[in-house]
């Protein structure tokens, strides 16, 4: 039995279809990240799970029980909002304990739960302050604490870190991961930050325009993107996509005379003459030291040192390519070099459907 199951959820606002049939089943303890660009329907889906919005059709089950029509307070969920949504005139202590207070939990029991959550989140010193006297990071901790004390079946997070600065976001991300590993509660987490998704998730649902584009583990999403959209959305800098075609059983990069062998696993998928998109992650590219079959002759255009890596933009024929090289690589603007990669790093897509080609 799934901890959380979403069955063919659709949502229309007037004549606009915001969600076009979403299906997800989560095992207990999973950390699902809904990843997608702004307006793709992530919050809408989360609100439907929480009971704050009504689905047009479909069903949501928690622990095997349909919760459509059940009041949000009785769904055994807790939610953390992007804006923190703390009660402005209550102290941190009462904010955290509010859900328990509303459920009539006795004061001493409440106090114990609040103290425990405050200890986990290291906000014990802030308990008697008002939200207005806290920093953004502290507010978000309080908001998380308010969800923790309820010990729900499912945690829902709607972009909880997006109002924090970069450093704090990193800290809180690790913190959330630690909490999840400790508590093992099922989580649905909305973000449009792919690094957050990759680091936190046990599974990622990449959403686009009201549909799930791909549902899989972070490794699957990263290594085997099912569509060009997913390939481009996950990873920074994003995956190189070179126009190519099959010529004489080889991959011919468009507008160049570069030919590379077609990997054996794609042997059945591609017909002679077919137009393709070749996907290679920038991290998979390296400067060739010896001549190989899998080499891309390029001319270096721009070299940017980000610290851990040298982000290099190069031209291959008329197309552009990005490579993330080790920081001390000897490459300079204007140089002609050869970049190489492992055969397994190469992905092929059909440009007309945007889908990855099947492998054998």
């Amino acid at each position: 039995m799934s901890a959380l199951e979403i069955r063919n959820i659709r949502k229309n606002y007037g004549s606009v279809e915001t969600l076009k049939g979403i299906d997800i089943a989560l095992q207990s303890g999973e950390f699902l990240v809904l990843l997608g660009s702004s307006g793709c329907g992530k919050s809408t889906l989360l609100n439907i799970i929480a009971g704050l919005a009504e689905a047009t059709s479909g069903d949501v089950l928690i622990g095997g029980r349909s919760i459509l029509g059940v009041h949000p307070k009785n769904r055994d969920i807790a939610m953390v909002f992007q804006s923190y949504a703390l009660y402005p005139n209550l102290t941190v202590r009462r904010n955290i304990g509010f859900g328990l207070e509303m459920r009539g939990v006795a004061a001493d029991e409440r106090e114990k739960a609040v103290a425990e959550a405050a200890r986990l989140l290291q906000i014990e010193a802030l308990l008697d302050r008002k939200p207005s006297q806290l920093s953004g990071g502290q507010r978000q901790r309080v908001a998380i604490g308010r969800a923790l004390v309820r010990k729900p079946q499912v945690f829902l997070f709607d972009e909880p870190l997006s109002n924090l600065d970069a450093k704090l976001r990193l800290e809180m991300r690790t913190e959330l991961k630690r909490l999840h590993q400790m508590l093992q509660t099922t989580v649905v987490y909305v973000t449009h930050d792919q690094i957050e998704a990759m680091t936190l998730a046990t599974r990622i649902a990449v959403m686009r325009d009201g549909r799930i584009e791909q549902l899989g583990t972070p490794e699957e999403i990263y290594n085997e993107p099912a569509t060009l959209y997913v390939a481009g959305f996950v990873g920074a800098p994003s995956m190189n996509m070179l126009q190519a075609s099959i010529t004489g059983g080889k991959l011919a990069i468009a507008e160049s005379d570069v030919r590379i062998p077609l990997p054996a696993r794609y042997a059945n998928a591609a017909r002679e003459g077919a137009r393709l998109v070749v996907g290679i992650r920038p991290e998979a590219l390296r400067v060739a030291t010896a001549p190989t079959d899998l080499s891309l002759p390029v001319e270096i255009e721009v070299v940017e040192l980000t610290g851990p890596e040298l982000v290099t933009t190069a031209r291959i024929g008329a197309q552009r390519l990005t490579a993330c090289l080790p920081p001390r690589s000897q490459v300079a603007k204007g140089e002609k070099r050869s970049l190489t990669f492992d055969e397994t790093a190469l992905r092929l897509f059909d440009p007309s459907t945007g889908k990855a080609l099947p492998t054998v």
């Binding site: 909002f81 949504a85 009660y87 005139n89 509303m102 207005s132």
Partner: protein, 294 residues
């Protein structure tokens, strides 16, 4: 640029306004103060200097104390009722339903009507011979015979308060409605998930955002209610048996009906002082509310 020049320039720019204000507010005020120390009549000139006699006479008269009580009753009850009805109306109009926009527009009507029109309207409703109130109450078997709501000392003030509420609750409702739009949707959502019912949601989620604006409405309405003149003048002229005579009516009677300009001026100044004290106290209260809400 030096700050003294900035300050000088600021004063220079404000000068025309200050001159106008001194002319239209300052001079009449000084004149009224002078007048209040004389026994001047409304017509004729001068009058003799009588020191604080006007003040002591006025403050010790039973008319004054009775009028002060009437005014306070009127102000407290009508303002309290307006606040409650206004907030309830705002909460209702903040719900999603068909025809909400129309209802919101309709609600403003009583407030948009000139007071004189409103007062006349309610005189018709309260009319002892063909008034709608009498008709409604008899048809519901709540009263046996038509009554003169504005003609009986026992009911006149209450009838006035109802009329005043009807006119002024929309202002409170509008202010509250605007404040309700400012309640963050996420906090409302959080309170739903946390299991707060309607009452707790009002108390912990809505009220913090409502308190500041409502305080402003309270200040405005109390000061206005304390100075009330027009609605009473049109409906009862302070009667019957002076049961609806408020301070402003008393000032009018003293200065114009009895033509005692000096005495009227002293009373006007007493009322001004009372209202000023109220205003200052409220201003402090508003600052405190705003401070705690931030």
């Amino acid at each position: 640029m030096s700050s003294t020049w900035m300050t000088t320039r600021a004063w220079l720019l404000m000068l025309p306004l200050l001159v106008v204000m001194v002319a239209v507010i300052g001079w009449p005020l000084v004149d009224t103060v002078n007048l209040s120390f004389t026994d001047a009549k409304l017509v004729g000139t001068g009058g003799n200097y009588v020191g604080f006699d006007n003040y002591t006479n006025m403050l010790s008269s039973s008319n004054f104390s009775r009028t002060l009580v009437t005014t306070t009753l009127f102000a407290v009850i009508s303002v309290a009722a307006e606040m409650v009805i206004g907030v309830l109306a705002a909460l209702l109009l903040n719900q999603q339903f068909h025809g909400r926009a129309v209802l919101r527009a309709l609600m403003i009507l009583p407030w948009a009507l000139p007071t004189v029109v409103n007062a006349t309207l309610w005189r018709l409703i309260y009319n002892p011979e063909y008034g709608a109130l009498n008709a409604a109450l008899t048809q519901l078997n709540l009263i046996d015979a038509y009554r003169s709501w504005l003609g009986e000392p026992g009911t006149a003030l209450a009838a006035l308060i109802v009329a005043d509420c009807w006119k002024n609750f929309p202002l409170v409702a509008l202010i509250a409605l605007a404040a309700l739009q400012a309640v963050p949707r996420d906090i409302t959502a959080a309170s739903l998930v946390d299991g707060a019912g309607p009452f707790n949601r009002f108390r912990f989620v809505i009220l913090p955002y409502l308190a500041g604006p409502l305080m402003v409405a309270l200040v405005l309405r109390t000061i206005e209610a304390f100075k009330v003149f027009d609605i009473i003048w049109v409906m009862t002229r302070g009667g019957p048996a002076n049961s609806t005579r408020t301070l402003s009516i008393l000032v009018y009677q003293e200065a114009f009906s009895f033509q005692r300009a000096g005495s009227g001026a002293s009373l006007a100044l007493i009322v001004t002082l009372l209202v000023t004290v109220l205003a200052v106290a409220y201003a402090a209260l508003v600052r405190k509310t705003a401070g705690s809400a931030a």
